[in-house]
């Protein structure tokens, strides 16, 4: 049975009529038109669907939509904009830390969680935090540069 589920997405109050078991990913993409959480595996293995739920990096492909009722969801578009960029977005752009970019949402959102918790992470901390995110194109080297660049800017 569909239910009305109330969410707060990128600072805006929203509601969806959906199967409470439906993954948050489909609510965000199909009901609310959020384009950045992306389907990659549906198995919580790749991170392409990552959003922040109350600031914590969360895999929306395996999170039932009803579980985030009343919580604050942030997507990549809510993290920053060209006018008000998040340091990570600026750094990924400046380092051209991407190939196809399909996975980029997962990297930036997971790194955002890390950098909000840890202002000056070590290389090991970054590697550990990002190890569960897949980039099939292999843009990892540039992504490491980008995260370190953003960390530097945020701790400056």
């Amino acid at each position: 049975m569909d239910q009305t589920i109330r969410l707060r997405v990128d600072g805006k109050a929203q509601s969806v009529q959906a199967d409470p078991e439906m993954p948050l990913l489909y609510a965000l993409r199909d009901d609310l038109g959020m384009e950045n959480p992306r389907f990659g595996c549906g198995l919580s293995q790749c991170g392409a669907c990552t959003v922040l739920v109350d600031g914590k990096a969360t895999r929306s492909c395996v999170t039932p939509v009803a579980k985030v009722e009343g919580h604050a969801v942030t997507t990549l578009a809510g993290l920053g904009t060209p006018e008000h960029p998040h340091p990570l977005q600026k750094a990924f752009m400046e380092e051209a830390a991407m190939q196809c970019g399909y996975c980029l949402n997962g990297w930036i959102m997971t790194a955002a969680d890390l950098l909000h918790r840890e202002k000056s992470p070590s290389r090991e901390q970054i590697v550990k935090a990002l190890n569960g995110v897949v980039c099939r194109c292999g843009a990892h080297v540039a992504m490491l540069r980008a995260v370190e660049r953003a960390a530097k800017e945020m701790s400056a």
């Binding site: 384009e35 389907f39 578009a77 060209p82 051209a96 196809c100 970019g101 930036i108 292999g138 990892h140």
Partner: protein
């Protein structure tokens, strides 16, 4: 469609352009439109008919009264920055600021069919026609200004889109004031076909050395949209009335549908079943309902059509087969005579691998009477148009394929399968249908790169290779044609009963591919063995990034390393000794220098690090088309677990003139990591009836923890040599460099890839027994 705008690489400007499609343009005919040159690329297929050997200039470039220059190309952006690079060429030729350039990528109603993306060709050959067209556009505009100003054209120059006498800006005419001179758009003959397609114009493009933008790190056009999240991806295409579909894949090779229990999805929204032969799909208004229905649908399948060989005996199976096709490179000298006195021999194995695209593949197809539109991330829009037209049995003129970025494609993987499935589903339900494949649909059922085995014999005398005999055997590299122009190349169509009618025969052959060493007696043969099943196989084979390249180079460059060890020679010096072309020597020496390569034979002493790992370094060299690569890898091997770490990789590449150094660096780094992944992790697994690699756990790839602490890229710029390809070449040498480093570290030769703990331990154990 996506509502957001990306100023540069976007579907949105293209949708704006669609108001200027040929028929509408002819009806409109207003002064504002009069400057628009019409593309005639619409009816050309990959193989062009004789009467399609011309195009208008406007098929390639259009200049608008506001100064915008639209660049039409079927080279789509698969993530390496080629759209930016091609735009740099056009801006330089026209002498306009880069900000004026809009790249219009891959739309069969607008772009000229030129083979699409493939073979690292987008920059390499994709620049020919665009540079010529831009040079011709500049010439037309300068001639017009010359006539108006009464100044000879050869006395005029152009700065930022303003034509003026050289060294004198007091008199000038802007391009934007005379764009009408471009209309009616002149027609020029075409040269070449497919990737080599070029336009024959009187104007001559500038030398690479005269370029200002090309050669510099212009920021990638796609970077802001990707970082801020407004870059258009095909997964975001939404149409009014669109439904969501999923395809049901068989449980086994060659299995066909016996019955479908439609009641099994009753109550899952409005989900319903579509069946065409053994193609089965579900469609629903809500995506979640389609996903649930695909999981719930009960289908009864026949038994598999064949039994697959034991995976750990695949090499034996391949050697036991009778090849159905053979080829040979031109021999040199007399190998048999040279090897008669005793040869050094080795056998190698390279596994099946797969694309495992980050997005399993998404397409939206809208089948209407007389008009079919396909939104897809295909590398080859024009070929896909042919394939979908034949699948739906409609004339290709009625099909429009619009490229919108999907995840990285790396050849003919699984992305286009969603287009075929969506075409069947949209045709059945009469609504636009979006199909996004599920993870297993892609990893388990996408096309595979063929397994390769090699048998090599050689003789080393006085420190030199005097004879080299290579025999490579593999599954067909192009069983599924690289161009999706035939419907039987889609698994959906195969299940619907369409035979695979597209393939050609493709080998990885040493000598033809990368045999650059000077050896007096050589023989190189290659053989193809039959696929496991003619149809409906999850192990059907197709192009994966640098088709055959990593496998063949692993085999050959590991064996060359064995010969260097035989000669007790340094692996770099041994290769240099057998090379003649100075560019080849420069590349390998550049890699060695950047790696602080210590000149010594390999594996002469055990070296360990503080963690007790055995450490070593290896090198590999190859060419791919005009591009030259050399890679040095350093490894640390845990002798107890067999785990291989790669703390450092140095990759040197000479691809001629470097168009965009930063984009090239990113491309090479990504090649290094992806090929590192293929070297140490990737092997498609299977049981006796199907592929068991289904997701990221069962087909593991490199993660952040596997990334070398240092990846050093050495880019050798040759400004007077036309740019070669860069999308694939550095994928070629990584496995061999790592394997050779493992030998240096352990004294054990890896003749089986990937270098998983299991395979490394097996090699170490075999050595200690011997």
């Amino acid at each position: 469609m996506t509502k957001r705008q990306d100023a540069q690489v976007s579907t949105e400007p293209r949708m704006g352009v669609s108001r200027l499609r040929r028929s509408e343009f002819l009806a409109a005919g207003t002064a504002a439109l009069a400057v628009v040159a019409l593309p005639q690329g619409g009816t050309r297929s990959f193989a062009m008919a004789a009467d399609e050997r011309t195009t208008t200039l406007g098929s390639w470039l259009r200049m608008w009264p506001d100064g915008t220059v639209e660049v039409f190309t079927d080279k789509v952006e698969v993530g390496m920055g080629v759209a930016t690079g091609l735009g740099q060429f056009v801006a330089d030729e026209l002498d306009v600021p880069f900000s004026r350039i809009k790249m219009m990528l891959g739309d069969t109603d607008f772009t000229v069919a030129a083979g699409g993306v493939g073979g690292s060709n987008s920059t390499f050959m994709g620049n020919f026609a665009l540079r010529n067209a831009a040079a011709q556009m500049r010439r037309i505009l300068v001639n017009e200004a010359s006539a108006r100003m009464g100044i000879p054209a050869d006395k005029l120059t152009v700065s930022d889109g303003v034509i003026h006498p050289a060294g004198d800006t007091s008199k000038s005419i802007k391009y934007t004031d005379i764009v009408a001179a471009l209309f009616p758009s002149p027609t020029f003959p075409l040269r070449g076909d497919g990737f080599t397609t070029d336009i024959d114009v009187p104007a001559k493009p500038k030398d690479f050395t005269q370029y200002k933008l090309a050669g510099s790190s212009v920021p990638r056009l796609d970077a802001p949209g990707k970082a801020y999240g407004h870059y258009p991806y095909v997964v975001n295409v939404k149409l009014p009335g669109m439904m969501h579909g999923r395809m049901i894949y068989p449980p086994a090779i060659g299995a066909t549908v016996q019955s479908v229990d439609e009641a099994s999805i009753h109550g899952i929204g409005d989900a319903r079943v579509v069946r065409v032969g053994s193609f089965v799909g579900v469609v629903a208004t809500r995506e979640w309902h389609a996903v649930k229905a695909a999981r719930a649908l009960k289908v009864t399948w026949s038994a598999p059509s064949t039994t697959l060989p034991a995976m750990d005996k695949l090499a034996d199976y391949m050697w036991a087969q009778q090849p159905f096709k053979k080829t040979a490179a031109p021999p040199q000298g007399n190998v048999d005579a040279a090897l008669a006195s005793g040869a050094y021999e080795a056998k190698y194995f390279w596994p099946f691998q797969t694309h495992a695209n980050m997005d399993p593949g998404c397409s939206v197809v809208d089948v209407r009477p007389g008009a079919v539109t396909v939104w897809s991330g295909t590398q080859k829009t024009h070929a896909l148009r042919q394939g979908i037209a034949k699948l739906l049995k409609v004339p290709p003129e009625q099909v429009r394929v619009v490229w919108v970025s999907d995840a990285g494609s790396y050849g003919r993987g699984g992305l286009e399968e969603s287009a075929a499935a969506a075409a069947y589903l949209s045709h059945a339900v009469g609504r636009p249908v979006r199909v996004q494949s599920m993870r297993a649909d892609n990893t388990q059922w996408g096309n595979k790169a063929p397994a390769i085995v090699g048998r090599l014999s050689a003789k080393v005398q006085n420190g030199s290779i005097v004879a080299f005999d290579s025999n490579l055997r593999q599954f067909n590299g192009n069983e599924i044609f690289s161009q999706p122009s035939a419907p039987g190349t889609f698994i959906a169509a195969q299940l619907a009963g369409v035979p695979n009618d597209g393939g050609t025969f493709e080998y990885g052959i040493y000598g033809a591919a990368s045999g650059k060493y000077e050896i007096p007696n050589t023989r190189a043969t290659a053989e193809l063995i039959a696929p496991f099943a003619p149809s409906g196989s999850p192990l059907r084979t197709a192009h994966l990034r640098d088709p055959q390249g990593p496998g063949v180079t692993f085999i050959i460059e590991s064996f060359i390393d064995e010969l260097a060890a035989q000669a007790k020679a340094d692996a770099v010096a041994f290769r240099v000794k057998h090379l003649r072309d100075q560019r080849h020597i420069d590349a390998i020496q550049a890699a060695a220098k950047a790696a602080n390569w210590e000149t010594r034979p390999s594996a002469t002493a055990k070296r360990t690090n503080a963690a007790g790992e055995l450490i070593g370094r290896g090198v590999a060299f190859a060419t791919r088309g005009p591009t030259i690569v050399a890679t040095v890898a350093e490894v640390a091997v845990n002798p107890k677990t067999g785990k291989v770490r790669v703390p450092r990789i140095v990759a040197a590449q000479d691809c001629g003139f470097i168009v965009n150094p930063k984009a090239l660096q990113g491309t090479i780094e990504a090649n290094v990591i992806q090929s590192l992944s293929r070297s140490i992790y990737e092997e498609v697994t299977f049981n006796d009836h199907t592929v068991t690699s289904k997701d990221w756990r069962t087909y593991p790839v490199a993660h952040m923890r596997d990334v070398p602490a240092e990846v050093k890229v050495v880019m050798i710029n040759r400004p007077s040599i036309r740019p070669g390809g860069a999308g694939e070449p550095t994928s070629r040498t990584t496995a061999a460099a790592i394997g050779n480093a493992i030998y240096d570290a352990t004294g054990v030769r890896m003749r089986t890839a990937p270098f998983t703990p299991k395979n490394v331990l097996a090699a170490l154990t075999a050595q200690s027994r011997a």
